[in-house]
């Protein structure tokens, strides 16, 4: 009797308490593992980031972060999986520029209103690379040859309609050049194509070809950006050559729009703490990323929107 009364009293107090606070009773988030969707295959840049986050953020969050690869449709399949899950913060996805560019095209399968960026994890500028033994010593050499033989030089890219395609389109128009774009959906084939001399140049981010740069198999001709990068101080930037385009590869973590603000805040805080660890800073350096790549939930949405505007601008000029 005594116990029952005590319980009843407790529950009344609890109800009153929650009513006063005007929030539903909820156990502290996260109370179970958070699924991190990688909309790309294993082994690539998005996958590596996810696995690093899973490893570093797990102790900070106190819950496991299993990584699930759901490749297909330039990230569309994985995004569909995220958007089909409840907006409760237990599903998140790696969201990268290569998928984001789909929103600038016709009939995108999702829009900015469907996603809530939690954090931008890494931003890596894009480059034009050649094989170490290439006959092109500088970007000027490359440009001269392209001018003399329009439609002859081959650039290996991710594919038509990709960020790579947009950037090369801007070079072609601003300089009056014509290249042949050879699309390789698999990175391994893309890299082999310039190492084997089957393509003349490669559009890529430095982090993805870091091993080739360190092993002296490839070297950069051009960096897409407003300024040069300290690690590549001899490589001219696109803006100084009056090529008005700089579409970096960014990799962000997003959840579904409508996820409660306190949950987004909790995730963002965890990722911020993680971004301050030495291990993460080392990762950014190894990836040749912009040192202040990381943006938390207060800045990430604006950044992602701005990227879309830049992509649309590059596309509209086509």
């Amino acid at each position: 009797m005594h116990v029952v009364r005590k319980l009843a009293l407790l529950s009344v107090v609890a109800c009153a308490g929650s009513a006063l606070a005007a929030v539903p009773v909820r156990a502290a988030y996260p109370e179970r593992p958070i699924e991190l969707i990688v909309p790309w295959g294993p082994g690539g840049g998005a996958d590596q980031l996810a696995r690093l986050v899973s490893k570093l953020a797990e102790p900070l969050l106190g819950q496991g972060i299993p990584v699930v690869n759901v490749p297909g449709a330039t990230g569309g399949t994985g995004m569909a999986k995220l958007l089909a899950a409840p907006a409760d913060g237990y599903s998140a996805a790696i969201y990268i520029a290569d998928s984001h560019v789909l929103l600038a095209g016709k009939n995108p399968r999702w829009s900015m209103n469907d996603i809530a960026p939690v954090a931008v994890m890494i931003e890596g500028p894009s480059f034009i690379f050649v094989a170490q033994n290439s006959r092109f010593k500088t970007w000027q050499d490359f440009e001269n040859e392209a001018k003399a033989n329009p439609g002859k030089l081959k650039i290996a890219t991710l594919g038509f309609g990709s960020v790579d395609d947009l950037s090369i389109g801007v070079i072609e128009r601003s300089k009056g050049l014509k290249f042949v774009q050879v699309p390789f959906s698999k990175p391994s084939e893309r890299y082999a194509s310039i190492l084997g001399g089957h393509a003349d140049a490669l559009y890529e981010q430095a982090g993805d070809v870091a091993s080739f740069l360190n092993n002296k198999q490839m070297r950069p001709l051009l960096i897409f950006g407003k300024q040069r990068l300290p690690a590549f101080k001899d490589t001219p930037s696109s803006y100084e050559l009056s090529i008005p385009v700089a579409l970096p590869q960014f990799r962000a973590i997003v959840v579904r729009a409508g996820t409660p603000a306190d949950i987004v805040e909790r995730l963002s805080k965890t990722l911020t703490d993680m971004a301050h660890t030495d291990e993460y800073k080392k990762f950014l350096a190894e990836q040749f990323a912009v040192p202040d790549s990381f943006k938390d939930a207060s800045m990430a949405p604006a950044y992602v929107s701005q990227q879309l505007e830049d992509m649309k601008k590059a596309m509209a000029a086509q």
Partner: protein
């Protein structure tokens, strides 16, 4: 050379530490299990193992993943030979001679041949890999889209040509496979094809769904029709593991070596892997082998050719990864990821900078192959016993495995419905005497053929003559033509003889 031998000796010493040996053993066992499960490919298996390597020493983690990769090319042969269900795409050619030999009452012998083929192919490619890492890697770079396209065409056309039944039926079957593979978003221009506005179809149809459905579910349906009354094999449970005799081995040493070399070379190419190696090797054997007329009737050559090439391709793919930093297959792409997570960048310098690690991995390949075959040897007997169980019970488990495999491909429930659909299709093909292998191969190789063809057209401004004028590609075309035209010429000649 002496340098390499001494480094390899060091590698063996490093490899014999308890941790590395434990990883080797675990990797081999898991790899075999993954090989056995239809639909769960070795690439997926290696991916699933990746998170466990985070906290491990880098050498141990690469040893683990490589061991899984090697034994993954072997495990699938068991289900192919015993149940006519390929555990991996590479095991499809195993159905023709391996399963047939089993049905003729010698399943233990067929498994014995598989074991020897995996061991021989694997060892040869490991030796080649250790001795010739650098020159081979440079050679592989000379392959580009035109070469890949003609290799893929060789694989596709040989599977049509080697069939025993109607050539027209085989061709139709392959075309259906290619048609299935073209569903979804086109890989080059992003056009939607045959999607009928459905988002599920826009993602395309995975070849694994076709394979698991047409073979796994289709086989169960075929057995269901006969009321699970396939004639039981006599005294299977008493069968001992039968290794081929030395005399038998001597008879086929030439083709054994050839298959292993083919596998190693194809494994080297970044655009091709164990599956293409296995099919091409079988195709070449069926055309040029001494007993080509008996291929498909359960001869040893039909088992050795695909199995030794598939296992040999692992060495080739590892060469490419270690020497150039470019993964030559799906599994090596994941292994590259493991290297990166541990802060090691494969490439020309890794052979110098991390020689210890590299040679330990090399040594682990040798030890792993021996271990894998030892496990395989002792596993054959209990595995063959499964054939004594009532067929209905075994079929029920096969269905469960098919469904697990299909779901694990991309965590999509729609794939479960698709494998049922392809099961019915496979059953229909079987009834109407259309071969299934060309269908499955069309679905597997169709996308690679399309992408490499489109890339060639884009790079060489629509000049189709490059397929014939480039030296490597021209040679392969010449080979393909002989392989395809020779049988017709022969048939014609025979007719003429009889006429006289």
């Amino acid at each position: 050379m002496i340098d390499i031998v001494s480094q390899l000796a060091d590698g063996f010493v490093h490899c014999l530490t308890p941790l590395n040996m434990a990883m080797l053993l675990i990797g081999i066992v898991i790899g075999l299990l993954i090989g056995v499960l239809p639909g769960l490919t070795l690439v997926m298996g290696v991916t699933l193992a990746l998170p466990f390597t985070y906290k491990m020493d880098v050498t141990a983690s690469i040893v683990l993943l490589t061991a899984m990769y090697v034994s993954g090319t072997y495990g699938g042969a068991f289900t192919a030979i015993l149940f006519r269900i390929p555990g991996e795409p590479i095991d499809v050619p195993m159905l023709w001679d391996g399963y047939t030999m089993g049905r003729k009452g010698r399943p233990a012998k067929a498994l014995g041949w598989t074991l020897v083929a995996a061991l021989g192919g694997g060892l040869l490619s490991a030796v080649v890999m250790v001795a010739l890492t650098q020159p081979l890697a440079r050679f592989a770079l000379r392959f580009s889209s035109p070469e890949y396209f003609v290799i893929v065409m060789f694989g596709l056309l040989s599977v049509v040509a080697i069939g025993r039944g109607s050539l027209a039926n085989a061709f139709i079957s392959m075309s259906v496979g290619i048609l299935i593979s073209s569903v979804g978003v086109d890989p080059v221009y992003g056009t939607y094809r045959f999607t009928f506005g459905s988002p599920i179809l826009a993602d395309g149809i995975e070849f694994l769904v076709v394979m698991v459905g047409a073979y796994g579910v289709g086989e169960v349906l075929t057995r269901l029709e006969t009321g699970f009354a396939t004639k039981p094999l006599d005294k299977i449970s008493n069968a001992r593991t039968e290794l081929p005799t030395l005399k038998e081995l001597k008879e086929i040493k030439g083709m054994f070596l050839r298959s292993a070399v083919i596998g190693d070379l194809i494994g080297l190419l970044p655009g091709a892997g164990a599956t293409i190696a296995s099919f091409v090797s079988y195709g070449i054997e069926a055309r040029f082998g001494k007993r080509r007329d008996q291929m498909g009737t359960g001869v040893a050559e039909g088992i050795v050719a695909p199995q030794s090439a598939a296992t040999a391709s692992v060495g080739g793919a590892m060469v490419h990864l270690l020497a150039l930093g470019i993964p030559g297959s799906g599994a090596t792409a994941v292994i590259l990821g493991a290297f990166m997570l541990h802060g090691i960048q494969p490439g020309p310098q890794v052979l110098v900078k991390s020689a210890d690690m590299v040679y330990t991995v090399f040594a682990s390949l040798f030890l792993g192959l021996a271990l894998m075959c030892a496990i395989g040897y002792f596993a054959i007997r209990p595995l063959v016993k499964i054939l004594d169980f009532p067929e209905a019970v075994v079929s029920a488990y096969v269905l469960i495995l098919c469904f697990i495999g299909a779901l694990s491909i991309r965590n999509n429930v729609t794939d479960l419905w698709l494998i049922i659909g392809f099961g019915v299709l496979g059953y229909g093909f079987e009834r109407l005497k259309f071969p299934i292998a060309p269908l499955v191969l069309g679905a597997i190789l169709g996308p690679i053929a399309e992408e490499t063809f489109m890339n060639t057209m884009i790079s060489f401004s629509n000049d189709w003559t490059v397929f014939f004028t480039r030296p490597i590609s021209g040679t392969i075309v010449a080979l393909t033509v002989t392989v395809l035209l020779l049988p017709f010429v022969q048939r014609l000649m025979r007719g003429v003889w009889r006429g006289l």
